[in-house]
């Protein structure tokens, strides 16, 4: 159990929230250390954005507690208003006030500071985020990337204890998105900011955060590093969220999962003869024109540049196998040999 200590920048203890019949958050607990960058990931409607709004205090919780730096901000008898929480928030639509310039937008969060201090702070933030030349512009005069940076500057200017970002890069074009994300995250790391970032993009979640929190239907499925979630998912949902697996039915016998395409050795905590499903990564299969462990026939191929995606028919399997390979097969290749690599597969009991 989590205990209230100052060691954590943020603690959520058994937080629940429902909207009518929908359970948006179902007894969620999470602790975040100062300086950590957390990626909340899940499909739309999983409760990740609701969680951010609860933390910011722009929405309430039904039960549980929220603590910031060890102080309760939401609880059975406490509710700290959002303006008193020292939180920064970058919204998905940026929510830049259209009637204010970039500079005035940033000043908005510094209203309670002495004039000179606020001006210094604005100059510092503008400089650091590299938008000093945009300070006099209105939001509608900025490009998407510039708006994103202005929103970030505004959120960071009051020196919040924790920065919340709701899909902050989803409104940017693909090429721009990667660059802005890299810049933003390296800046946040340099500043040592504690960040919770919401995303629905699995790749972004894996690459951006120190820790990834995968959510489903208002619950946390798995928490860990990107490697943990991708390489060691604890259940099929987590596995399939980050990778489109080939699924092959099998049976556990004698320390092996036995399937139509061979026996795969792994010690499992499962009864003899119990059914297991093999989850094989498309890039966990090597393919060549020479014979392999499995022989197959290429049904179709899609060239993606770096890799090629092959659909390979295998005798005894209902579904063809999806294979990703960097090897170039000559055009017209039909018969291929496949080998499942040792780290290319996982196994779970069938759902």
């Amino acid at each position: 159990m989590i205990s209230a200590t100052k060691d954590y920048a943020l603690e959520l203890c058994n937080v629940s929230r429902r909207f009518g019949q929908t359970v948006a958050l179902d007894v969620v607990s999470l602790a975040i250390s100062p300086g950590e960058i957390i990626c909340l990931v899940g499909r739309s409607g999983c409760g990740k954005s609701t969680l951010l709004r609860m933390i910011a205090g722009v929405d309430t919780i039904d039960s549980g507690r929220v603590l910031l730096n060890g102080n309760e901000v939401s609880g059975p008898s406490t509710f700290v208003e959002p303006e008193k929480r020292r939180i920064g928030f970058v919204f998905q639509d940026y929510a830049l006030f259209p009637h204010l310039t970039v500079e005035q937008n940033i000043l908005f969060g510094l209203k309670d500071r002495p004039k000179q201090e606020a001006a210094d702070r604005i100059a510092y933030v503008l400089e650091h985020i590299g938008i000093a030349h945009l300070s006099a512009r209105y939001p509608h005069m900025l490009s998407g990337g510039e708006q994103q940076r202005a929103a970030l500057a505004r959120a960071l200017a009051p020196q919040p204890d924790i920065l919340l970002m709701d899909e902050p890069f989803s409104n940017l074009d693909r090429g721009l998105r990667d660059r802005v994300r890299d810049e933003t995250l390296s800046l946040l790391r340099k500043l040592g900011t504690t960040v919770i970032m919401v995303t629905h993009d699995p790749e972004e979640a894996l690459s951006a955060g120190d820790r990834v929190v995968l959510m489903k239907s208002g619950r946390i499925v798995q928490t860990g590093t990107g490697y943990d979630l991708h390489d060691r998912p604890i259940n099929p949902y987590a596995a399939e969220f980050f990778c489109a697996f080939n699924k092959v039915p099998g049976v556990y016998r004698d320390g092996h999962v036995e399937t139509a395409i061979g026996r795969f050795a792994r010690q499992l905590d499962a009864g003899e003869g119990s059914p297991m499903t093999l989850y094989i990564r498309p890039r966990g299969i090597s393919v060549s024109r020479e014979a392999g462990d499995i022989s197959g026939r290429v049904k179709s191929r899609v060239f993606l540049g770096e890799v090629e995606q092959l659909t390979v028919l295998v005798d005894g399997l209902e579904q063809p196998l999806q294979v990703r390979t960097m090897n170039r097969l000559p055009p017209g290749t039909e018969a291929v040999g496949l080998t499942v690599l040792p780290d290319g597969w996982l196994t779970f009991p069938p759902a």
Partner: protein, 554 residues
């Protein structure tokens, strides 16, 4: 709402706004409640007396008037809307917004103007006699405008824009592909109106007609000048000439019943309208080019309601006003009336806009069943005729005045007299109750355009709910608030029945002066006041036409 534990998790922000909205809803409901109490106090004998004497005539006259005005406004509004949407002819762009102009002429002013224009010795009948070679009104005269038919026609010609606006909006949103589909299915261009456009626009027509009928129920001047004894007129005379408050309250409640029916009809029609506009969002309807001859015919057809409903009475008023000015100049009395009118309307506008802000903002801060009910209750007054609200406010104010007077007398030995009614506070109260829906509706529409993430951003950046309102919502919805205020201001200037019943002793506004002169038969005396009302009434018409082709409901 779901679990008992939630009570302890409730947050404080917005609670004060919600309480404020609750107070406003209560104040709006109070006159209606007072009306019911007062009506119940009247003896059963009184009610049966009313049922046997006044009510049958008043109810019948009201129903005939409503049916007639409904028919005329529906025909005029739909026809003009279709002609300016479906056909391209010279002058169409001007007519499109000029068709709104009759909105600037209150019902009592059109009646007042036409009583004189169509007078047996007036300009029109004189011209006809001259043309036909008659020499005196005894040889030839038109049917008297002072009749039910005259009243229906005149009200129809100033109220048709209520139908024109939503119907034209509906025609414009009907996609071109719908019409093209109808034509490929073998329907001729002319038949498109009957088979496609009209059925789709029916809900819009219904909405417009019910709004026009609410205005008809509110009217007191026109019906009275033209000798039609409607429920509204009966309420007024029951109170003014017979000082019978329970009787007036009972008639007012019967009138409210008619209003409730109308509102239910309007809600039903609006529901259908939403359904049928949601489906299409396509290329706009392309008007058809017509020949010069047909164009001229169309131009004259569409011009007719504008001439009857606006140009003729406005010209008449301008000429008469000019004559008065030449003859006597601007009297001190006129300036006093102008001052009263503007001061009363300004204070009422400020109150109404503030109340509207409170109600709208409370439901933004605390969305949910409570706030939406409070909003609905606060805006009930839009449908209630001014007379009904005035009688209700009268009862409330008189009670409050009596109580304050007695208390002051007992404690301090001074008499405060009629504090609320004497100061005009009662009148401002009635204006606010009646026009709160206009202000809250306009402000709501303005606030709805501001994304909710702006609220969150402002809160997170350190502003309280009130600060967010001041620094974010207010600057961003300034235009909507101003527009709502303008509409309320103009409606206050035009409002006759409530002003007539609740104004402090010896305080005259443009509207009451006009009414008084017309009642005495000295029409031209008030022409400057009437012209001023029409001039002020044009302001929202300009605003509506600038809002572009998707002009909203007035």
């Amino acid at each position: 709402m779901t679990s008992a534990a939630q009570g302890s998790y409730r947050r404080s922000a917005g609670s004060r706004w919600l309480i404020g909205a609750g107070a406003i809803a209560f104040l709006v409901m109070l006159p209606i409640l007072a009306l019911v109490m007062q009506a119940v106090q009247g003896s059963a004998g009184l009610w049966s007396h009313l049922v046997s004497t006044i009510l049958p005539v008043a109810l019948l006259d009201t129903l005939i008037l409503l049916s007639g005005v409904g028919l005329i406004t529906a025909v005029l509004g739909t026809t003009t809307a279709w002609l300016v949407t479906a056909y391209a002819f010279p002058g169409r762009r001007v007519l499109e917004w000029a068709l709104l102009l009759p909105l600037a002429v209150p019902t009592y002013i059109i009646a007042y103007a036409y009583l004189d224009i169509l007078h047996p010795v007036g300009p029109v009948q004189g011209a006809i006699r001259w043309l036909l070679g008659y020499s005196s009104p005894r040889e030839f005269r038109l049917p008297d405008v002072r009749s039910m038919t005259g009243c229906i026609l005149l009200l129809g010609f100033v109220l048709y824009p209520y139908v024109y606006i939503p119907t034209r909006a509906m025609f414009l949103t009907q996609s071109a592909s719908l019409v093209e589909a109808a034509r490929t299915l073998g329907i001729s261009r002319r038949a498109v109106f009957w088979h496609v456009a009209l059925p789709l626009a029916r809900p819009a027509v219904a909405v417009g007609v019910s709004l026009a009928l609410m205005e008809t129920l509110n009217d007191i001047g026109a019906s009275e000048f033209l000798g039609v004894r409607t429920l509204t007129v009966s309420i007024y005379t029951t109170w003014i000439t017979r000082s019978d408050l329970p009787g007036a309250s009972q008639i007012a409640l019967s009138l409210l019943l008619v209003v409730v029916t109308l509102v239910a009809f309007e809600k039903w029609a609006r529901g259908k309208q939403r359904y049928s506009t949601g489906a299409q969002r396509n290329r706009a309807f392309e008007p058809r080019q017509v020949s010069a001859g047909l164009g001229l015919v169309l131009f004259i057809t569409v011009l007719l309601p504008i001439v009857v409903g606006f140009a003729a009475p406005a010209t008449y008023l301008a000429v008469e006003a000019w004559k008065r000015l030449e003859f006597a100049g601007l009297s001190a009395r006129f300036l006093g009336e102008a001052f009263n009118t503007i001061v009363l309307a300004t204070f009422a506008t400020i109150l109404t806009v503030l109340a509207g802000l409170l109600v709208s903002y409370a439901s933004r801060l605390r969305p949910g069943t409570t706030s939406s009910w409070l909003q609905r209750l606060s805006t009930l007054g839009y449908a209630a005729p001014g007379t009904v609200i005035a009688i209700g406010v009268l009862i409330v104010s008189a009670t409050a005045d009596r109580f304050i007077d007695r208390t002051a007398h007992a404690w301090f030995g001074v008499s405060t007299g009629l504090l609320f009614i004497g100061s005009g506070a009662a009148l401002l109260y009635a204006y606010t109750v009646r026009f709160l829906a206009i202000s809250a509706g306009g402000i709501d529409a303005g606030l709805a355009r501001i994304p909710i993430s702006f609220d969150h951003a402002s809160r997170v950046l350190g502003q309280s709910a009130a600060g967010t309102f001041r620094y974010v919502h207010l600057p961003l919805s300034k235009a909507a608030i101003t527009a709502a205020g303008l509409l309320v201001f103009v409606d206050c200037v035009k409002e006759l029945p409530a002003t007539l019943l609740l104004r402090p002793l010896n305080v005259e506004t443009f509207a009451t002066r006009l009414y008084g002169e017309a009642a005495r038969g000295t029409y031209e005396e008030a022409s400057i006041a009437a012209l001023s009302i029409v001039a002020i009434g044009i302001l929202p018409v300009i605003m509506l036409s600038r809002m572009g082709r998707n002009g909203l409901r007035p």
